[in-house]
């Protein structure tokens, strides 16, 4: 039964694509603005596999380069965010003093959307990678730090007492009890963070740098290539999906004891 149902997820996407196809084919939408699914597929194919020199088109054979630009930025920004946010979250959750000093500022800055930081980022860092990395890092930072803090505060009191009575000092308790106990929350934060990182990279590349999928998206819109816009949307969606799966997979690997609990 389950096996037969596993193909069921295809139904809705197929319906949506069919609707899209007929909407264009039967002229329900204004002609020439919305490309058909087939058109998007053709353009996407050329964009990936086309010769990059022969046609002198920015949309032939440049897909992989742009994917690499965006992915590298996401990876760097996200990596920096995780490296700062996880230790900081541990500290805020652990120390009342650190919480009083740092947490209110984070909570005040958090509601400022990363898009609102754009002019500031460009003014400070210029139209360079640093602007993009700043926005991506900042966007990913918040969910990671908040979830890490929560994870630390949720640590079972009995486990802390058990560690203490076995002779553990502050450092050991933090490293051997609080950190592993907060790991599930940390992974939740990382998943939310990578999602925001992809949002941020597109915004940043649209305005603050001159390469990557976000740049292509905005540029294609200006020259009226909606087919490339749609192909870019799918590309970003796909990359976001894959990176999310990677984090989930890494989480399962690290939190093997937790899947045992769920089945036990």
């Amino acid at each position: 039964m389950l096996k037969r149902l596993s193909a069921l997820w295809l139904l809705l996407p197929a319906l949506l694509v069919a609707l899209w196809h007929f909407a264009v084919d039967l002229r329900w939408v204004t002609e020439g603005i919305i490309p058909s699914p087939a058109q998007v597929l053709r353009s996407w194919h050329t964009w990936i596999f086309g010769s990059s020199t022969a046609m002198l088109s920015p949309y032939s054979g440049t897909w992989l380069d742009n994917v690499a630009y965006s992915s590298r930025r996401v990876l760097q920004g996200f990596g920096i965010a995780a490296l700062v946010a996880i230790p900081l979250g541990l500290l805020i959750g652990w120390s009342r003093v650190a919480s009083r000093v740092v947490d209110p500022t984070i909570q005040l800055l958090r509601p400022v959307p990363i898009t609102a930081w754009l002019p500031f980022a460009i003014a400070v860092f210029g139209i360079y990678d640093a602007s993009a990395l700043f926005l991506i890092g900042l966007g990913a930072f918040y969910p990671i730090v908040v979830n890490t803090t929560h994870g630390v505060r949720d640590t079972n009191l009995l486990l802390l007492r058990a560690a203490r009575m076995l002779g553990a000092g502050d450092g050991t308790v933090l490293a051997k009890v609080v950190f592993p106990s907060a790991l599930p929350s940390i992974f939740t934060g990382l998943r939310l963070g990578i999602g925001i990182a992809w949002t941020a990279v597109i915004v940043a590349e649209m305005i603050a740098v001159k390469s990557g999928l976000g740049y292509v998206l905005w540029d294609a819109y200006y020259v009226g290539r909606m087919d490339i816009c749609v192909a870019t949307m799918f590309s970003v969606g796909l990359l976001g999906f894959v990176s999310d799966r990677l984090i989930v997979w890494a989480g399962r690997l690290v939190l093997r004891w937790r899947t045992l609990e769920a089945h036990g």
Binding site: N156, R164, G167
Partner: protein
């Protein structure tokens, strides 16, 4: 070994001060097995937490081996009601948590761990995670990780309270066997009359809140003891005596609740 002098404990509860323990005096001799018996909410766990060093007394003095207790220490091992194992560590790594923290040599503690895991009957489960074990097995790991520290004092807070009756009986026999071998000083908190009499040299019956020690009863039943003992006449006589004390307390607590 343990010296509790004039200890009171107050809690702040919703803006009100609640007196949990009042004027407790208790001395536990070296190698003595003392059970603290009382109705739920009488503060018996609080008393144990103070000896463990998890909580501090509002008034009075708590000492172990002549020194005032201000923090937890491996010389005072605690077995909790929930096993409180580290779920991300295997049975072996849970048992080795303490020795590793103290930086003891792996060569030396490996052998000791194997011996203790064998004593508690968990050989073959060294690589299992707590989630893969039954409640009784988990509690045995909770005992093993404390025993490996070779504590002078063993503090047990209703350790078998969450287990089913059969597992509980098995665990009581296991503990009796372990105690014959190691002979630590034990402070054992429980609300189970039979368990208290079966295990302890002395049963301290506590009053309902605020908790005081109502009476201390010596259990003069020879060791080694076994579960069959619970049907003997002298066991029954003790049980009747304790039951009477507990009933008085439960009644008093109930009367206070209805404001009589």
């Amino acid at each position: 070994m343990i010296e509790i002098r004039g200890v009171s404990k107050e809690f702040a509860k919703g803006g009100r001060r609640v007196l949990a323990l009042q004027e407790i005096d208790l001395t536990v001799a070296e190698r003595e097995f003392v059970a603290i018996l009382g109705p739920s909410g009488c503060g018996k766990s609080t008393l144990l937490n103070m000896v463990a060093g998890f909580e501090l007394a509002t008034q009075g003095l708590v000492k172990a081996a002549g020194a005032e207790i201000v923090a937890p220490a491996p010389s005072r091992g605690v077995v909790f009601q929930e096993p409180a194992l580290f779920p991300w560590l295997t049975v072996m790594d849970n048992v080795l948590f303490g020795p590793r923290v103290l930086g003891q040599s792996a060569l030396e503690f490996r052998a000791r761990a194997a011996r203790i895991i064998e004593q508690i009957g968990l050989s073959g489960f060294e690589a299992s995670y707590p989630a893969e074990l039954s409640g009784g097995m988990r509690q045995r790991v909770g005992i093993a990780r404390v025993l490996i520290m070779e504590p002078k004092l063993l503090l047990m807070d209703e350790p078998f309270g969450a287990l089913d009756a059969q597992t509980r009986a098995l665990m009581q026999e296991l503990l009796l066997g372990l105690w014959e071998r190691h002979h630590q000083t034990v402070l054992f908190v429980t609300h189970d009359i039979e368990e208290a009499i079966l295990l302890a040299d002395r049963v301290c019956v506590m009053t309902a809140r605020p908790g005081r020690i109502k009476k201390s009863i010596d259990v003069r039943i020879p060791r080694p003891r076994s579960i069959e003992l619970t049907t003997s006449p002298e066991f029954n006589a003790l049980r009747r005596e304790v039951l009477e004390l507990i009933r008085e307390e439960s009644l008093r607590a109930a009367m206070e609740r209805i404001g009589a």
